[in-house]
């Protein structure tokens, strides 16, 4: 008999033993004389079940997980290749409620296909967006993106169509498309999962961005912490080039687009777009003054469409299905879907792509199943190290850019880090400032000096040294950093600090007595 088994090549799956499982499956199959085809797919995003293996059966793909090497003999004994019953069996993958209830637009193929097979990609709707774009004028592509309501998924939520229109309208002998793949925020891994699980959708999105703006060269600035993504992207780019999707004559259209991956070097601030451009140019990752914005004068001083991975990966489906299809998902001015990432102390961590408007409570409890420790969830940090801590009393807040901003919080890149009731929020506030001090590029004083002073002030506060005075200084520092920093690193580090202070004052030893005297 012959069978097909899917074992993810996703870095998270590999980090918990997927390679060993694939090896054991192959060895057992050989020993039993079974012809086994193992496809290394991306992850379905149900990361608490990794390694999640799937068997192709007449009834669809059947999921088993988390599978360890020791489970392999019993899986064969249970006849898992025919979908046989086993304690690790979850039934049809796409019927698992966590997965079935999602609205997979950008992540439709992630986990489904062989990530670096162009044939598999095309068989599942790949390149349709690019073919549609090739039939349009650049301004029409920009119009479609504007009409879709797509906003930057990296965190800043700037309308993508406006950015592209600026690049298109700025005359230059050379323009660039740059993909920000420096996903440094803790609690986020959606960029990584696209690049490892469906890298060709990013390639396709970048080519469309090139057609829309007149750019002929693309760069993916990838953080060095993602070596698996680098491998998948290189394989995808090679496949696209070999098939004439990339190169001097994109799909025979006479249009040119080249693409190259560049690896960062462990600097968080290089996720800030102007520091990223400096780094791509071979310099220290120091933030630039704006204006000019990168869309006018970006990489090597040329107009540059600089977008996040998930933003660019959302472009093909908009061109394929139409702006209205995408825009009809979402809430308020937040259109389309966001790939939320459940991380930290959560029972069912993973990726959940849903239309904007879902509440934190639904994500944390219906999808996430509460904390991993079984203790009450005390706070979540949404949007990375620069996002506010949200207390349990605000868990009914809908995830919508504007609704979060109104609460002094951010949705950001959609990463949600969960903390149970053992968390010390003063320690987390101190960490936010310490991290800012470590990663500050040093160009502006509020960030460079303010972060270090902030750590010292919190230390004095926690030591009980004139707490009222320290609180006043800390609040003042936060104001200065927010309003006078050059970029979001210094400008938003106050978010976690202030929200921790506001919602969890007891953790700082702040009592009525402390407020009363110093």
């Amino acid at each position: 008999m012959s069978a097909t088994v899917y074992v993810p090549r996703d870095a998270s799956a590999r980090s918990v033993g997927a390679d060993d499982v694939a090896e054991a499956l192959a060895a057992h199959a050989a020993a039993r004389g079974v012809e086994l085809r193992i496809v290394r797919n991306g992850s379905r995003g149900m990361l608490w079940l990794e390694p999640l293996i799937e068997v192709a059966t007449d009834a669809g793909r059947i999921a088993y997980g988390p599978v360890g090497v020791d489970d392999v003999p019993s899986l064969f004994a249970a006849g898992f290749l025919a979908g046989g019953d086993h304690p690790l069996r979850h039934g049809a993958t796409e019927s698992i409620p966590y997965f079935a209830k999602q609205q997979r637009l950008t992540f439709a193929r992630v986990g489904l296909i062989d990530p670096v097979s162009l044939a598999d990609y095309e068989a599942h709707g790949g390149l349709r967006g690019l073919r549609a774009a090739l039939a349009l004028e650049p301004a029409q592509i920009v119009e479609a993106i504007l009409a879709s309501g797509l906003r930057g998924r990296g965190g800043a939520a700037f309308p993508t169509g406006i950015k592209w229109k600026t690049v298109l309208d700025t005359a230059a002998d050379q323009k660039y498309v740059v993909c920000n793949a420096d996903e440094g925020d803790s609690g986020t891994f959606s960029d990584r999962m696209v690049m490892e699980g469906d890298p060709l959708v990013l390639v396709e999105g970048m080519i469309i961005a090139g057609l829309a703006t007149g750019a002929t060269q693309g760069y993916i600035y990838l953080r060095s912490e993602y070596p698996d993504a680098a491998v998948a992207l290189d394989q995808a780019i090679a496949a696209a080039r070999a098939a004439g999707v990339l190169g001097p004559d994109v799909l025979g259209s006479g249009r040119r687009f080249e693409l190259e991956v560049r690896i960062g070097a462990g600097s968080y601030v290089c996720g800030e777009e102007t520091a990223l451009l400096e780094s791509l140019e071979g310099k220290r990752g120091i933030v630039r003054y704006r204006p000019p914005v990168p869309a006018v004068a970006g990489l090597f001083g040329k107009p540059t469409a600089l977008n996040n991975v998930v933003t660019l990966a959302s472009v093909p489906i908009i061109l394929d299905r139409g702006a209205a299809y995408y825009r009809d998902f979402g809430a308020g001015r937040s259109r389309g879907t966001l790939a939320f990432q459940l991380a930290g102390n959560i029972a069912r961590g993973g990726l959940v792509e849903l239309a904007f408007g879902v509440t934190l409570r639904e994500l944390l409890y219906e999808y996430g199943g509460g904390s991993a420790s079984g203790r009450p969830i005390r706070a979540v940090q949404v949007g990375g190290p620069l996002g506010a801590f949200v207390p349990a009393s605000d868990f009914d807040l809908p995830l919508d850019y504007e609704a979060f901003v109104a609460k002094g919080a951010i949705v950001g890149h959609g990463g949600i880090v969960v903390f149970d009731d053992t968390v010390d929020m003063a320690k987390m506030a101190r960490y936010a400032l310490e991290f800012c001090a470590i990663e500050s590029c040093g160009k502006c004083t509020p960030c460079r000096i303010g972060s270090t002073r902030g750590v010292e002030v919190i230390d004095r506060l926690l030591a009980g040294d004139r707490p009222r005075l320290q609180l006043a200084v800390l609040r003042d520092l936060c104001d200065t950093m927010e309003h006078a920093s050059l970029c979001a690193l210094g400008g938003m580090t106050p978010y976690p600090v202030r929200s921790a202070l506001e919602h969890f004052p007891a953790d700082f030893g702040i009592t009525a007595a402390a407020h009363g005297g110093h």
């Binding site: 870095a11 918990v16 803790s186 993602y226 070097a265 930290g344 991290f435």
Partner: protein, 168 residues
């Protein structure tokens, strides 16, 4: 590849620089790719690379040295034979990374940013490996591991079991 623990010979160094320049010097914004190539080969970036790389790219030595010192990845000293990077960021903290950090410091006998005097191991912090749903996470010689606890870390590092201390 196991990085050498001593200063490379001048032949090795010159060869590494030449190969990096041949492979990357033509690229726009070539400095990071060149430094990565040198570190891939030598395990670190000795200060001796600064003058020839600066000359090749028509940069000042200060610019090249400034780039090397700016980025956390570029090492100015040889690493140990094994490099452990433990994630210290929020999602891993929420799953007990601070306790693991203390455990690693104690069992490896080395602090963060340090290489043990016998050259066996270097311990480094890292801020997010993108494995936040399988936290806590680390890399050992570049290989990612998730869902760590002290026992799993010890197995991965093949740390011999320590004597059980009698409880007080």
């Amino acid at each position: 590849m196991h990085p050498p623990s001593d200063t490379p010979s001048s032949t090795d160094l010159a060869g590494a620089i030449e190969r990096a320049l041949t492979a990357c010097a033509h690229l726009p914004g070539a400095l990071l790719p060149i430094l990565h190539a040198i570190q891939r080969e030598l395990g670190w970036v000795p200060t001796e690379v600064v003058p020839p790389v600066a000359d090749a790219l028509n940069l000042s030595r200060a610019e090249v040295a400034g780039v090397i010192s700016f980025y956390h990845d570029f090492r100015s000293a040889p690493p140990g034979r094994c490099v452990v990077k433990l994630c210290r960021a929020e999602a891993c903290q929420a799953m007990g990374a601070d306790a693991l950090a203390a455990h690693l410091r104690a069992t490896l006998g080395v602090d963060f940013h340090e290489t043990r005097s016998d050259g066996a191991v270097t311990l480094e912090p890292v801020y997010c490996l993108g494995n936040c749903a399988c936290a806590p996470a680390c890399t050992i010689d570049g290989r990612l591991h998730g869902r760590l606890d002290a026992a799993r870390l010890d197995r991965l590092l093949a740390v011999p079991a320590t004597k059980v201390e009698p409880t007080a």
